[in-house]
Symmetry: C2
Subunit: 551 residues, 2 copies
């Protein structure tokens, strides 16, 4: 690669102690590496200083509008004086992206446990749903990107910080055509037009997957214990054993690779009580929900890393597959290289309108879902507290009346006395039924809606990514109009922008069709539970009423 | 009647300003009248002073144990210097007993209105049910005996005051055979044995009576307005027009005459809002309950005063009948003169046990009823407040979710959106159903139980009356054993004591059989209301569930 000089457009202050370098506007830097990834380039300043800087802060030939923000900070491995291994760009990229890079030592870090949130699932939901609306419902509980605190998603909405999701994802590198690689047809994924808009090509062999049989197991002669689940895909019915941290690793891989797909967060972690049956059941139910959703995603369900997770039972092959996944070429921005879309170009304005409208949808739904979870959690509490108490009071009052009536010991008085006591006991039973009922309808509904809250939390970042791409495309069109970019390059960039738009639109279509199916099922199940509940109450009271026939 | 000298056994201090005289132990008094009634005799002291004293505080020939208390205070007519008309003992007795004596002016006192309790019915019930248990649930709201404050029933339990219900009722005069009168066979009322114990002879022509068509009317050219009800007995279906105060007058007569019968209190009075439809409806329902219960009492249902109330439509005849009722010879103690009982004598011990056991029953039931009303009133509030709110919140949350889903405007998304909104509206409807439901089941139950609270409130006084009578009978038996009373007199007294016991036992039997029938009906109606309510909820949810079939 010939020497490339760039001119700095905007001042950039390096993170102290990192491999970054300070650069100042108008400074000239010689680029020493372009394949660092994550929007970072390496360069040498005139004073001889070498280090990383955000590619978007410089221009090679011509100006290209101010960048929205610098790339994300470098991982902590850069701060302890070690130099990154530039010879393995893919793995480096991974290590920049995720602490999962630690996994590259090829041994699970046993000191880092599966759990880190010291609260029960419903507590976690409860806390989560209490977040103020200004946070746009961003769900951080399951994300451990290893970035410094300022990279929290919660801040994305408030002010554009320097970690542009677009740049970070490598999307820009793809868009500008700086990623060169060969894609085999077998790897290609298609987006096609449908009545509902662009969709991922239909999954050819839909299947399901079960998560069952949680079993406490241990390692290191019992020093380290954990729960192992049986994961069984329906296409072969061969169970594999997986721990929460395997799911966690997988989740990281999927988020890396499918950067416009809103991968559901995993069920929350917790430190205390994680071997208690109730927690294990809840976590398993959460993992089941998660796995089921992945199975329904036409792209992920057919991905190699997912299939490796679902089917690999051999320890050695598992590690090989894991390493391969971590070195996957087609992750993040590069993933778009393998997408085939319809030929017809998209109207930027049209796409912007669609995405904008979807963004509004997401905001509104996120608010509804947050309020809904809050209200439903309170309702669960009310069922276990006040509702139960009220019905119990009615029961106690009737039992007491029956007791006072029992002082009339004549046989003819007994029928009524017993009937009233029976009614009292029935109300006490109904009290307990009120306390128990949320478990059968409201809690599952909350879990399901909570899963959606997690899915929704991905969209702001995805939409920002797409917005950045569209902006770059528009900038290039402008440059072309000014004769500063040749038509071929500009149209190639527009074409690649379309791929990104197609992918996002396909995800939106997929989201909506999932949402419609899911909420139909959720509501049907909830209503069936409620109907059964009220019928049960009526039936019990009917049984009590019959007691009076003999009274 | 030969001059009778009595020796004073206990000091008695006259009520200042009354016709009473102070008497001191061992003092000798010449009796000038024995037929004053209410346990009072008139006498002349050695110093020439003439006045009333409690018969129980003196002895004629021999000692007869200390009396439990003096007779009730004399009415206010004695305090303004007027001398009582001793020539009309019956009317005098009434005037001692009740302020209803005022009615003797033969004109309704229009300045005293129908109402005097400034609270709504449910408020009155609520306050009432909050009385501490120590009050034995005594219900004073409907009683206007015109006694001074110390005569309140609330104090009966705490210490025996001087207004012995036994003496007051004239029961002692009857027991000792000092009431001489001729009873025609037509006036006689029979008590017979049954499997359930002594019962009033069966009512030969049972009938019902309706209270309907409340109508605002006025007198004195509209200066004085009131509500008139149509009272229609089923035996002739001829309606008569009656006001609340006619009921009130009747209630007084019944309480006077049937002193071992727990006559239900009338529905509570109130000053404000008494012409409001809701209050009028509630009062009418209360009067209907009251009238229905009277119709089911075999003695009262056949009484002259009651029949006069039910049938007299002519103004002039009404006044005549009213005056006749107020002069009725066979009220209070004298009422026992007209009772025919089975021949076999009762065992005092046996009767005491039965009455004692019933007393316990009454106490326990009164407590249950008080707690029950309190709990049920709270439940009504909960239905209108928290229950309604909770279901409404669920409705609102779903409507909001539907609204957010409506942002997906594609036709295929509409089915789910509408179904979810429908479910939200259904929950809002159910919220209103929760608020409305108590009107259909819980409020009627409270009214019914409240009526029983009123009935129960009569028993402590009735039981005291009976206790006093039994004590006197036992005293006489003792005197006979000591040769101080001849056998004929003693057995006549025992016989009259049995009549009192039979009457009370018949009332207890009647109470229990009413209670068993009533509570069976109450509970059946309540449960039917509840069952219909929960089925309605289930049906509404079922209707909402069906919306998802097309979604």
């Amino acid at each position: 690669m010939a020497e490339i000089q760039v001119k700095v457009l905007y001042d950039f202050d390096a993170q102290p102690g990192s491999a970054e370098i300070n650069i100042q506007a108008d400074e000239i830097i010689v680029v020493t590496r372009q394949d660092v990834g994550e929007g970072w380039w390496e360069g040498k300043k005139i004073n001889g200083e070498v280090g990383l800087f955000p590619q978007a802060y410089v221009e090679v030939v011509q100006e290209s509008g101010p960048p929205e923000m610098p790339p994300p900070p470098l991982p902590s491995t850069f701060t302890d004086g070690r130099q990154p291994d530039y010879n393995t760009p893919d793995s480096y990229q991974l290590s920049v992206e995720k602490p999962a890079a630690k996994v590259m030592t090829d041994d699970w870090d046993e000191t880092r446990d599966d759990e880190d949130t010291p609260s029960s699932k419903l507590n976690a939901i409860s806390q989560d749903s209490k977040q103020p609306g200004g946070n746009f419902g961003l769900h951080t509980a399951n994300r451990e990107h290893g970035h410094s605190g300022e990279a929290k998603f919660g801040t994305v909405k408030k002010s554009f910080n320097r970690f542009s999701t677009f740049v970070k994802s490598g999307g820009e590198a793809y868009l500008l055509g700086t990623i060169k690689t060969v894609v085999s047809d077998a790897d290609r994924i298609a987006i096609v037009e449908s009545d509902d808009g662009p969709v991922w090509a239909v999954q050819e062999h839909p299947y399901t997957c079960s998560v069952t049989s949680p079993k406490k197991d241990s390692k290191f002669r019992g020093m380290k214990s954990f729960i192992a689940y049986q994961v069984t895909p329906s296409f072969n019915m061969v169970p594999v054993t997986r721990r929460y941290k395997h799911f966690d690793w997988l989740h990281g891989r999927l988020e890396d690779k499918f950067c416009v797909t809103p991968v559901s967060p995993l069920p929350d972690k917790q430190v205390t009580g994680r071997y208690e049956d109730d927690f294990i059941e809840k976590r398993m139910a959460g993992l089941q929900l998660w796995v089921s959703r992945i199975c329904r995603h036409p792209v992920i369900a057919n991905s190699e890393v997912w299939n490796h997770f679902l089917t690999c039972a051999d320890e050695k092959r598992w590690k090989q597959g894991k390493r391969k996944a971590e070195k996957d070429e087609f992750v993040a921005g590069s993933f778009f290289l393998i997408i085939n879309t319809p030929e017809n170009p998209l109207s930027v304005k049209d796409v912007e309108e669609k995405v904008d409208s979807f963004n509004k949808f997401v905001k509104h739904m996120d608010d509804s879902v947050r309020d809904g979870i809050q209200t439903m959690l309170e309702s669960c509490k009310k069922h276990r507290g006040p509702y139960k108490r009220e019905y119990q009071k009615m029961g106690d009052v009737l039992i007491d009346l029956g007791n006072s009536f029992s002082l009339d010991t004549r046989p003819l008085a007994q029928g009524l006395t017993e009937a009233i006591r029976h009614t009292g006991k029935t109300y006490n039973e109904i009290a307990q039924d009120f306390a128990d009922q949320p478990r059968y309808d409201l809690e599952p509904l909350i879990e399901e809606i909570h899963e959606y809250k997690g899915i929704l939390s991905n969209f702001p970042e995805i939409i920002e990514l797409h917005k950045g791409a569209l902006k770059r495309v528009k900038d290039c069109q402008k440059l072309e109009g000014e004769g500063k970019l040749n038509e071929a390059d500009a149209s190639a960039i527009a074409r690649r922008g379309d791929v990104l738009s197609y992918a996002l639109l396909a995800e939106i279509t997929h989201f909506h069709s999932e949402r419609i199916l899911d909420y139909k099922t959720y509501m049907q199940n909830y209503l069936r539970g409620q109907i059964a509940f009220y019928r049960k109450i009526a039936d019990k009271l009917e049984g009590s009423l019959a007691q009076y026939d003999q009274a």
